[in-house]
Symmetry: C2
Subunit: 106 residues, 2 copies
């Protein structure tokens, strides 16, 4: 459940916008709230993310999910690993498409 993909995506989204509820995160990643909560807590557990309780100046209260230095490093590593995987997928996909085109010709 805690595969690279979601670890990467969560770190990415939170780095970009640490002020983001778990619900917003869930919507963005197109996964359930429960799964989001599970993955996020795992990242916190591992010291990748620090959850800061904080109050917005005017209105609502909320959390800030900030990447720790370790989290930032991890995110970089994951990005590279993720890119490699995507490149492999890309290669595979192109072969598949070529094959499908051949098939359509017939």
């Amino acid at each position: 459940m805690l595969d690279d993909e979601y670890r990467y995506k969560i770190l990415k989204e939170l780095q970009q916008d640490p002020n983001m509820s778990q619900r917003a995160l869930a919507k963005r990643l197109e996964i359930s709230l429960g799964k989001t909560n599970y993955c996020l807590n795992a990242l916190i557990e591992k010291g990748m993310i620090k959850a800061d309780n904080f109050k917005n100046s005017t209105n609502k209260m909320g959390y800030l999910y900030l990447l720790t230095p370790k989290g930032i490093e991890e995110k970089i590593a994951l990005t590279q690993r993720f890119l490699q995987r995507k490149l492999k997928e890309h290669e595979t996909l192109e072969k598949e498409i070529e094959q499908l085109r051949q098939e359509v010709k017939t």
Copy 2:
């Protein structure tokens, strides 16, 4: 469970080699025997495939899973739909890769 992908793949494999056990099919598609059985029966139910009981000349008995005319048509339609989807995926993937490359630069 009976998504386009497996319908397409099953029709393709069986068109190519109608003499193929469900176990062999399962291995080829990298899905479980149970799922293979379920999908295949659904295709039979819909009249896409006809299961002929038949005896091999020399040794074993087995089934022939032959595509019906309707099945052949369906397979063509699925191939095209599948190709379209793969092209979309391809586009998406390239964007993702580009984005990842940008990110790695930083």
